[in-house]
Symmetry: C2
Subunit: 141 residues, 2 copies
Amino acid sequence: MLKISELAAKTGMSAHTLRFYEKNGLVSASDRSEAGYRYYNDADVRRAEFVKTARNIGFSLEDIGQLLSIRVDKKSHSCQDVTDITRHKLDEVNAKISELQSMQSTLQILLDSCCGGPEKATQCSIMDALEEGEFRAAEEN
Amino acid sequence: MLKISELAAKTGMSAHTLRFYEKNGLVSASDRSEAGYRYYNDADVRRAEFVKTARNIGFSLEDIGQLLSIRVDKKSHSCQDVTDITRHKLDEVNAKISELQSMQSTLQILLDSCCGGPEKATQCSIMDALEEGEFRAAEEN
DNA sequence: TATAACCTTAGAGTAAGGTCTAAGGTCAAT
DNA sequence: ATTGACCTTAGACCTTACTCTAAGGTTATA
């Protein structure tokens, strides 16, 4: 049975974060001492580590909540339920990458166009390009 | 002289957003009617469009503030001042892309490992992988 | 017994970039 | 003169994922 600071040390998440996750239903302590101290058993620790792993991969807390509800009752869920969440996340990540690559290419073009030296910015080609417009938005979500 | 809704229509930003940007020093109306209505002249419009362009590219509002302060006094700034901001933004974008590509590859591996079918999740290889851990964080900023 | 180091809670604050509301004033047309 | 569309402000609210604070209770050690 671990106290919150021990679970924090073990998982690399702060005690604050663990309490925050508890408030959001992601982790919990099966037991409490008489004084109200949280005590985490092995199953609690595994659940907390599952959360940490999912978070490391990049799942949102909401995604993790869904994964956890599958985890506690695997028999009632299919592999498709799991891949749906995973694929949805992958789609989001791919969309964000595209958006960033568009920014990347624009920024690179701007940098390539400018001398970047100590010359006065009165003739700076980056400033001129910004003045001109002509850049479409990198399409938010 | 445009009223705020006219500038909004012209730039594709909402009147709310224009007021918000004004509060943050990015745009402003050179004139006000007696009743306090904002009136934007040609220079104001060009500045607003500059902001829109920079935002489309992906610059933060703080970056845009810096670009604007160069813009209003180009003689006191060098091309290097401009490329510094641009390169810094490019570095950020590149870092974020790397992080997302790491997530992307993990998610793809997970998807490839799972049948994704109607089988019960009791043997789901994605769930197993999350249970195992072994994924390093995609290193936030 | 006293001190440090831990724990508890509710709730506020942070970043970033908006978005919206309330309560009210203004303007053009009918 | 009265609609309806527009404008003003301060300030609250949104998202996501924490992070911290205040005020107080507990536990272990010297």
